[in-house]
């Protein structure tokens, strides 16, 4: 079951990083979409890493390696 996007929290996050930047009305929904897709890619990569190590659970090292790759990919 999906939860609603925390719109205000997203706005605060961006505001904290870039106080001078504004967000359009529904732009934070797209930010949430971007965030979901990022997590999705991260999850896929981590799962792939875990399967490579023949592990049924995601360990921190799998997640760390996945994070490195996906973060690099997520740079605009």
């Amino acid at each position: 079951m999906k939860r609603a996007a925390p719109r205000s929290t997203l706005r605060n996050l961006i505001k904290r990083h870039k106080p001078q930047l504004r967000l359009a009305a529904n732009a934070d929904l797209l930010v949430h979409l971007n965030f979901l897709l990022f997590l999705h890619r991260l999850a896929e990569e981590a799962r792939a890493n875990a399967f490579e190590n023949k592990s049924k659970t995601i360990k921190s090292e799998h997640a760390m390696a996945a994070a490195k790759v996906i973060l690099k990919k997520s740079r605009g």
Partner: protein, 762 residues
């Protein structure tokens, strides 16, 4: 038959009249006939004309003919006159009740009606009055308007403000609409009790009516205003007030003049600092001040140092650090006499180096006088030396730090009995960000102290530990400019705390302290060890207790504080120089310890902030150190418990806005479809933070490139395209449909509905 309005018949009537007049002149011989004939002719003509109009017209004309015939028989004798005065005489002779609609103008008819008709309702006369003057149109409209205005104005007042606003608009219309409405309006004020209204009152009412729409909206908006904002402001003010009160109390207890003046001075700069980013300092200071009465004078020295440090730092981070340090410092000083604490409080508030020195000496003297334990006195003496030996910067730092600690400690102290000064100090550290941690640590400290207090040696041990902490404070201060020094201290503290966690024995802690000191670079380590060893002789238990408490708390923060305190105490024991080296070592250790910790980034940052508090480095350096610290912090499993405690204890603790971890966990688990280890979640959370930072940078770049200041959906789409999420094969809308819930999708994707409507409206 009389008709009020006979607009439709007027043209026929006029025609009839004209025809009658023409016909009447010509056929003079045939008066009777002509009289009848013209009438009939006219009537017929009229009727003929009217026939074309309507059957009602014909009927009317027949009725008129009858009337005329009845009237015309009387005038047979004078046909000419009659013929000439057909129009005129007839109406006169005919009873007024029966107006000659054909011959009379509407105005005449109406006038007759008005004059003859009885007033059935109050509306009628007004209407007739209004109508009559209106018909000729001779009366100036202004008079009417003014009268209407006068009538209407009182009407507005009794009605609601909103209604009055509407009436204002309606008023203009009424003048143009019709007499009826005007009469109705006039009636209303009459019906209502017409108070004697002055122009001022009217204007007031009008103004009120105009102004009313605004407050309700603002009231509504007030409800939307977030409470936390108010809370923060209130806290700051309350704290400042509490600080001042505490200061007054301190003043009462301490007779020193400089002490009295210092609080005011310190409070103001402290508040100014707080105003910047976080309200930690003011929050810290009030509890600190309140605690003054209870804590010993050692706190004064430390608090003064910390307060000084806080003053110099001037950043929220530093304040946090200070608060953290103060928390630790306070429990150490806990058992000291209460009176002495007031002196140190005042010292802290002043934040002036020479004053501090004086205060330190005063506090020391006072502490010495007040403290019952010899060890405490010794500690105070050490503190005095420390204070005197310290550089102004160090002392400032120390005071700020100690202040923060004292505050935290004081707040905690409130909760506990005096018997366990530590305990009291511990509860007090709630307000600060690290306050939760500190509280926990302090509580633990207090508990440990209590347990240790049972034995008689506890007070001296406590004092010794406090002195140790105080020594560490000045020791940490000298390291102002070097980031690594701060890190070292933080790392040192963390290590100490961690070590203390593992082995809560006194000896172990001492050894850890020594080990930490050994880890520190050369002389600094030795210096640290020397004071530590001095401390360890008697207050080993307390140190361990303290250390144990620290680790039990929020972990790194506590450790840093413990390290800092130890450094301070150690520095104070030896000499300022030694303390400096110790501080350097401490900071280095802190940095080292920080690196392994990657968990709880939020925790890390406050620790770094704390570490930075020791050094009066410029604000610019703090973010860098924070970043380095954040990158270096590894997650620590034992922190989970502390984190839970922390979050539970400090509801108001200032946390950087981050996505709720539960949400992140849920989404990640859903996407990964496989069980995930807890450590992996931490990694994911850290990754998410980095991602958001990158995201905001990219969005800013795109928006700036478009010379805009608002991030639009187009910018988001561009970002996703560059990330490879949106391609020619995968449009954005498909992604929206797949991943976002329906309500969000409705807002994003325009949908065309019937009636040429597009939702959402563009």
């Amino acid at each position: 038959m009389h008709r009020v309005a006979a607009g439709t018949t007027t043209p026929s009537r006029h025609r009839a009249v004209g025809l009658v007049g023409v016909l009447a002149r010509f056929p003079l011989n045939r008066m009777p006939d002509t009289r009848a004939s013209p009438r009939t002719r006219s009537s017929t003509g009229v009727s003929q004309d009217s026939r074309a109009a309507s059957p009602s017209m014909t009927l009317r004309h027949k009725m008129k003919e009858r009337v005329r015939q009845s009237v015309g028989r009387k005038h047979l004798s004078d046909p000419r006159r009659q013929s000439i005065s057909d129009k005129t005489s007839l109406p006169k002779k005919t009873p007024t009740i029966l107006p000659d609609l054909d011959n009379d103008t509407p105005r005449v008819v109406l006038r007759r009606i008005i004059q003859t008709q009885p007033q059935v309702s109050p509306l009628v006369p007004k209407m007739s009055e209004t109508k009559e003057p209106e018909e000729p149109g001779s009366q100036p409209p202004s008079e009417r308007i003014s009268s209407g205005l006068e009538m209407h104005l009182p009407d507005f007042v009794p009605e609601g403000t909103v209604i009055t606003a509407l009436h204002m608009s309606r008023k203009k219309k009424k003048f143009s609409i019709s007499d009826f409405e005007r009469g109705a309006d006039e009636r209303l004020p009459r019906n209502l009790a017409q108070p004697a209204l002055d122009n001022s009152s009217l204007t007031r009412s009008l103004q009120i009516s105009l102004a009313t729409p605004v407050p309700p909206e603002s009231v509504e908006k007030r409800g939307l205003i977030r409470r936390p904002k108010n809370r923060k402001t209130v806290n700051v003010e309350a704290f400042e007030g509490g600080v001042e009160q505490n200061l007054l109390q301190i003043k009462g207890t301490i007779a020193t003049e400089p002490l009295c003046t210092e609080p005011a001075v310190i409070v103001s700069p402290w508040c100014s600092l707080a105003a910047g980013k976080c309200c930690l300092p003011p929050i810290v200071s009030p509890p600190f001040c309140s605690r003054r009465n209870y804590t010993a004078q050692n706190y004064l020295a430390e608090s003064q140092a910390t307060s000084m440090i806080g003053m110099t730092m001037g950043t929220s981070d530093t304040e946090i650090i200070l608060s953290n340090t103060e928390l630790f410092a306070q429990p150490q000083l806990g058992e000291q006499s209460q009176a002495g604490f007031s002196a140190p409080e005042q010292k802290l508030l002043k934040g002036k180096i020479p004053v501090q020195g004086r205060k330190a000496s005063n506090a020391a003297t006072e502490e010495g006088m007040l403290s019952d334990v010899d060890a405490e006195e010794g500690m105070t003496q050490r503190l005095q030396k420390k204070d005197l030996a310290r550089d102004p910067e160090h002392t400032d730092q120390m005071t700020t730090e100690s202040r923060g600690r004292a505050v935290s400690l004081s707040s905690e102290q409130r909760e506990r009995t005096r018997g366990s000064s530590y305990a009291e100090q511990l509860p007090g550290a709630e307000e600060r960000v690290a306050g939760v941690e500190h509280r926990r640590s302090q509580r633990e400290l207090s508990w440990d102290l209590l347990s240790s207090d049972r034995p008689s040696s506890s007070p001296p041990a406590a004092s010794r530990s406090l002195s140790r902490r105080l020594d560490t404070l000045p020791a940490l201060q000298p390291v102002n400019s070097s980031r690594p020094s701060v890190r070292e201290t933080v790392a040192n503290i963390i290590e100490k705390l961690d070590d203390a966690e593992e082995s809560e024995e006194v000896a172990d802690v001492e050894q850890e302290m020594e080990d930490d000191s050994a880890e520190q670079e050369g002389a600094a380590g030795e210096v640290v060890e020397s004071p530590r060893s001095a401390r360890t002789r008697s207050s080993s238990r307390h140190s361990s207790a303290m250390a144990a408490q620290y680790p039990a708390q929020s972990g790194r923060k506590l450790m840093k504080e413990a390290v800092e305190r130890e450094a301070e105490l150690g520095g104070g024991a030896v000499i300022g120089d030694v303390g400096d080296s110790e501080e350097e070592e401490m900071t280095e250790e802190e940095a080292e310890t920080e690196e392994p910790e990657s968990e709880e980034l939020s925790m890390k940052t406050p620790a770094f902030v704390r570490a930075k508090a020791y050094r009066p480095s410029p604000l610019l350096s703090t973010p860098r150190t924070l970043k380095t610290a954040a990158s270096k912090f590894p997650p620590k499993p034992p922190r989970a418990q502390q984190a839970a405690k922390r979050t539970a204890m400090a509801p108001r603790r200032k946390r950087e806005p981050a996505l709720p971890s539960s949400l992140v966990k849920k989404i990640f688990s859903h996407y990964v479809k496989v069980p995930v280890a807890r450590d992996a979640f931490k990694v994911v959370e850290k990754c998410v933070e980095v991602y958001f930072r990158q995201l905001s940078n990219d969005l800013e770049a795109y928006t700036m490139h478009a010379r805009r200041k608002t991030v639009e959906e187009a910018d988001l789409e561009l970002l996703m395209r560059r990330q490879g999420l949106v391609t020619d094969k995968m449009p954005l809308h498909v992604l929206i449909e797949r991943h976002l819930p329906l309500e969000h999708r409705k807002l994003l994707i325009p949908v065309a509905t019937s009636g040429n409507k597009v939702i959402p409206h563009k």
